[in-house]
């Protein structure tokens, strides 16, 4: 288990560095997918089976596709070799450093860090679902509402059409 953790952690780091430093945007996106996958592996070593599979399903299967689609659809030239400008770099490093600092500080001060790796308790999916449907229902409903709003927004965006086609030649459905 220890070896698996070290391998996966190294994989996350290498892929993350690659995702930030590679010149080609699509390569960066694919490296980000590798980060997601390795993070799912990390969840598995922690005994969080369901979380790991959901991570693969949502991040590797869907979010990554969203990223590459967004990339290909928003750029006129799909494969743009242009390098990023240097100016926002200071801003970016500051923001990233602040976030990382907050997370590290939160983890260190939480006092939840055990001295020795304890055997991870495997939570059955049934209990997870029950918890979600009883204790965590407000969060679940809020997320559901948010996603519904996003879905409706997407439909409205997709529905917008140019006002009344001038000639009678409408495109065949």
């Amino acid at each position: 288990m220890e070896t698996a953790f070290h391998l996966l952690a190294a994989g996350v780091l290498v892929a993350a560095v690659a995702a930030m430093s590679l010149r080609h945007l699509v390569h960066c996106a694919l490296c980000l997918v590798a980060v997601f996958a390795a993070a799912a592996g990390l969840f598995l070593t922690l005994g969080a089976e369901f979380l790991a599979f959901a991570q693969v399903l949502v991040y590797v299967g869907a979010i990554s596709i969203l990223i590459v689609f967004a990339m290909l659809l928003t750029r006129t030239r799909a494969v743009d070799m242009a390098s990023l400008s240097v100016r926002p770099r200071v801003l970016g490093v500051t923001a990233a450093g602040a976030v990382a600092g907050f997370v590290i500080a939160a983890v260190l001060t939480s006092g939840a860090l055990p001295e020795k790796a304890a055997a991870a308790p495997a939570v059955p999916v049934r209990d997870l679902g029950r918890e979600l449907m009883t204790q965590q229902v407000p969060a679940l409903l809020a997320v559901g509402l948010l996603l519904t709003a996003a879905l409706l927004g997407a439909v409205v965006l997709a529905l917008r059409e140019p006002p009344a086609a001038p000639s009678g030649k409408e495109p065949r459905a």
Partner: protein
Amino acid sequence: MVELLEQAPLKVGQWWIARVPEAWQPVAGACLGAALIVAVFAGLFALTTWLERKGLARIQNRPGPNRVGPCGLLQPAADGLKMLIKEDIRPREADRWVHTLAPLLKVVPVICALGVIPFGRHLVALNLDAGLVFFFAMGSVTEVALFMAGWGSHNKYSLLGAMRAIAQLISYEVPLALAALTAVLVAGSLSLPEIVDSQAGAYPGGLARWHVFTPWGLAGLVLFFTATTAKANRAPFDLPEGESEIIAGHLVEYSGFKYALFFLGEYLLLFGYSAVGITLFLGGWRAPFVWLEWVPSYVWFALKLLVCIAWFIWLRGTVPRLRADQLMHFAWKFLLPLGLLANGSALLWQASADWAFPGATWVRWGLAGGLVLVPYQILGRALMGGAAALPRRYRFAE
């Protein structure tokens, strides 16, 4: 005797593992399971290519492969050999790593996904608590592989084909998951062996209590296999390949064994989804009648899988390919609402399980079945726009 046959594969496996040093036994067990899955399903892939070519030939009134071996049975071996010794061509402009890794990423997750399926009473390589989620997660990784193949080839047809394929896969994943959810709702578990166990027992008369013999189960099965057809890129939903429109889409720059790997991945995905469909709705490895339970469970599973494969071959030989917009409308306007209603029907079935008044079974069937059938009719008619009543009009390019 029955028990012996049932236990036979397990016993052989254990005998084999016992010869390995103690410390390596878990690893050996895992390797044995993985090797068996790869060997059996690669063999089934070879057999299916032959069955498919023979079946399609039969439908189209021609002999099909009949030169290599008896009845052309060795044709898959010849094809495999041809694929192996073919030159591996990579376009100069193609992205080397992405282009090479795509076929691997198409095949490997699918093989992993096959590990969670209970092939028999004692034959499940990975008994995961969230097995179904694992299966769907692994199935969704192929979308990344498609993108890599399409983009890495540096060919506009590849890229367009990949975009179309990904759009199709994502669209059909929704009804697929909804259809699978019906069985999860009723069984109350995401573990595939437990879902099989929820179909234990028999109706009076000896008919097994499979989920398909309930209104929601029947609806779920039809939805599941329809979505599977699209998800596994099979006719009539084989637009991603679309050789007459976008010259085989993301596959256009692949040759040799990489090309064969894509097809291996596609067929393994088909087997995997069929196996999950069997597990969710068709009783998994259980016999259809009580008096047939002496046949070993893995034989039942294999038989059911072969019937599913035959169904997909038949469908491919019968139905013409859809248009891209029809494909999307079908997923979002027809399968998605019906999937939601099938879940409602399953809930109703569960909630009315303790009704005991005379004729309760009929009322339950009427309510749960009507909840799916009536919208099916209304939706179908509305989406056809009354076209079903008119004679078909053929319009050609103007």
